[in-house]
């Protein structure tokens, strides 16, 4: 198992290297002179020459790539052109928001999608099954941003003045402030230190932070602001998970051991949940892992619709503003995260199905 994990990590090194290479090439090919982009159109030739030398842009391209690799291995992503702030700092602010949004969407998709799929499979060809599958097919065909806008219209405008009203934008209501847990508990961390950055990262997950500090007002507010974006972002994964669960369950329910379980007089509920579902779980876990990519891509659209300051929206803005230190860092973070999640899913097979021996 550990051996397998190590081998898989080693095998993903070429992929990560490839990701870095592709991002590097793409970022360098964005049209426009980096000096002019960073220092303004009026930068003189001498200034630009110095700038080019300082940033190593006069060196051969492969040397530049090596410098870039060296910086990344030290966790340095450079300075943002637009904000003149370290990219790492921006990533620490933005990534937790997206992770929070992605996780709530995925949790929603899983806890609704799996029971829907199981139920459909058990009541195959019933009205509920047909309705679920029509719903799931429609769900995968919906543009995320359209669903988001329609949900915002429904819950923020049509249901205004009802208890079902939900905020259409932002992460917290005006006047509600989330105080980081390290300040509440006075941990006395030095600004800029790694421990501070780590604490800052987790405190930017507002739900987590407000649970730690026990601030229920912020918690409630943070959750209500996350409902619509999570619904919008989670619908496609939900549909995919429901379809996968259904087909995987149908496959298992055909097996002889299910007939045996029924024949020996077990309750149907136990047959379904213990005998069938556990064996149907493997492809479901795989498909859930693959949704992480969908979630990151959907985050670009969802965050821009619900005005959430996350990685997706930032990345999109950075691309359009040619802020390539941010483009490079954020793309790498997302792609590496994607590779890592799929690795974790692969390793989780052992726990889902003890018969599997990873070697």
């Amino acid at each position: 198992m550990i051996q397998y994990a190590i081998r898989r990590i080693l095998l993903s090194i070429p992929v990560v290297f490839g990701i870095l290479l592709v991002t590097f090439v793409l970022a360098r090919s964005i049209p426009g002179d980096p000096c002019k982009a960073m220092l303004g159109e009026k930068a003189s030739a001498e200034v630009c020459e110095r700038f080019t030398r300082e940033h190593g842009l006069d060196k051969p391209i492969y040397v530049q790539f090596l410098i870039y690799l060296k910086e990344i291995s030290r966790g340095e992503f450079g300075m943002s052109i637009r904000f003149s702030r370290p990219v790492t700092q921006i990533l620490i602010e933005r990534l937790p928001t997206t992770i929070e949004l992605g996780l709530t969407a995925l949790v929603f998709a899983t806890i609704v999608g799996i029971p829907m799929g199981v139920f459909s499979a058990v009541r195959r060809n019933s009205a509920i099954d047909v309705a679920t599958m029509i719903g799931a097919n429609t769900g995968v065909s919906m543009p995320v941003y359209w669903l988001g806008l329609m949900l915002a219209y429904l819950f923020a405008l049509v249901l205004k003045d009802t208890p079902f009203w939900l905020p259409p934008s932002g992460r917290l209501s005006a006047g509600v402030v989330s105080i980081p847990f390290y300040e509440v508990f006075n941990l006395g961390l030095t600004k800029g230190a790694f421990s501070y950055q780590l604490a800052d990262f987790f405190s930017n997950m507002l739900i987590l932070n407000s649970i730690i500090t026990g601030d229920w007002k912020v918690l409630g507010d943070a959750i209500t602001h996350l409902i619509l974006p999570s619904l919008a972002l989670g619908t496609i994964p939900l549909s995919i998970i429901a379809r996968m669960t259904r087909s995987s369950m149908l496959e298992v329910l055909r097996q002889d051991y299910i007939r045996t379980a029924r024949a020996k007089g077990l309750f149907e509920r136990i047959v379904i949940l213990k005998h069938a579902f556990r064996n149907a779980l493997l492809p479901i876990a795989t498909i859930i892992g693959l949704q992480v990519g969908t979630l990151f891509a959907g985050a670009v659209l969802t965050e821009s619709i619900f005005s959430i300051a996350g990685v997706g929206r930032m990345l999109f803005e950075a691309i359009t503003a040619r802020d390539f230190p941010i483009v490079q860092a954020f793309t790498v973070a997302i792609a590496v995260g994607y590779v890592a999640v799929n690795l974790i899913v692969d390793l989780s097979y052992v726990f889902i199905d003890p018969r599997i021996k990873l070697e």
Binding site: I19, P31, T331, Y338
Partner: protein, 329 residues
């Protein structure tokens, strides 16, 4: 000819049975049976048994008709600004005479957009743009993907390794993000958006083709073709690649759905089709801030995207179940 074809011998049995029973079988059953067992017919029959495929196929057929006859269906030119021509103003709600809209007002069944154009006509013409997007991107991706996958699978070794590792890298990016990055390098516009979407979907087809090539390249009929003196090119393109066509059709149909969805997303973000092109994503994107005041401007283009994508998804699912159930995931 010592071997009698299977159908013929079966017919002899039937004939003998008939003789024993004192009846002579119908003379032309042989031909009928033979025809009904051809691969194409069997496949067609399987496809027609798939409810999804039929519903998706009918929806798609209607959409193609709408695209072809758009000028006949749409009451206005999609880019025509109606200021001064009619008594309408910016972002008017839908006006349908049948539903009680006064007869003296011009009928606009999906309303008027922010530039005082008929939304219905724009949505109708949008079908052309979206179907064009779907077919061209996937067509391009299939051609390039097939070449890469076929060459990799056929030659094997380091060529295969390099190609497939590069495909792995492309697959490691969430496709929409990679497409956004590529468009930002190439520049905005529909053509570049199409190219970006095609590039990010190439790995899917390369993998499908490579898998089919690997599964048949050691089989006897390939060796036979080689023994008969067939060249590499002949063997790869005429003997091996036809085996990849069924999975490619399935993947391609599902791929068109994704391509349309992603192209619309790029246009929504302002990176794809530029106004005044009647593209659904662009229409939605330019009116997104008006969702609270004029929801019809967001609702209908989105609905059109959904219906089109749904038709390809249903058709693709049905085809997969009929042609290649192994692909089911």
């Amino acid at each position: 000819m010592t071997n009698m074809p299977a159908e013929k011998s079966l017919d002899m049995d039937q004939y003998m049975d008939g003789v024993v029973a004192g009846k002579v079988p119908e003379p032309n059953t042989t031909e009928k049976d033979y025809r009904s067992n051809s691969l194409a017919r069997l496949t067609m029959r399987r496809i027609f048994r798939q409810r999804n495929a039929i519903v998706g196929g009918i929806m798609l057929g209607l959409l193609i008709l709408v695209a072809i006859f758009a000028p006949l269906i749409a009451p206005y030119d999609p880019e025509e600004v109606l200021i001064g021509k009619e008594e309408v103003s910016k972002r008017d709600s839908p006006c349908i005479h049948l539903l009680g809209c006064p007869e003296d007002q011009p009928q606009h069944i999906l309303g008027i957009d922010g530039n005082v154009r008929d939304v219905f006509s724009r949505v109708i013409y949008g079908t052309r743009v979206s179907l064009f997007i779907g077919f061209t991107t996937v067509g391009f991706a299939i051609i390039v993907g097939t070449l890469l996958g076929a060459v990799g699978g056929f030659l094997g070794g380091w060529v295969d390794n390099i190609i497939m590792r590069f495909m792995d890298v492309l697959l490691a990016f969430p496709s929409l993000l990679l497409a956004i990055a590529i468009v930002s390098v190439l520049g905005r516009g529909l053509q570049n958006a199409l190219l970006a979407i095609a590039i990010v979907t190439i790995p899917v087809y390369a993998r499908v083709v490579r898998a089919s090539v690997l599964s048949v390249k050691e089989q006897e009929f390939v060796s036979a073709s080689r023994a008969l003196g067939g060249g590499q090119f002949h063997i790869l393109f005429l003997r091996i690649l036809p085996n990849a066509i069924p999975p490619l059709i399935v993947q391609g149909t599902l791929g068109i759905a994704t391509a349309i969805l992603e192209a619309a997303a790029l246009s929504f973000l302002g990176l794809g089709a530029q106004p005044p092109t009647p593209e659904w994503g662009t229409m939605l994107g330019s009116e997104r801030n008006q969702v609270f005041t004029a929801p019809h401007l967001v609702f209908f283009p989105g609905l059109a995207i959904m219906i089109t994508v749904l038709s390809f998804n249903l058709l693709g699912d049905g085809l997969r179940d009929a042609i290649d159930p192994r692909l089911k995931q």
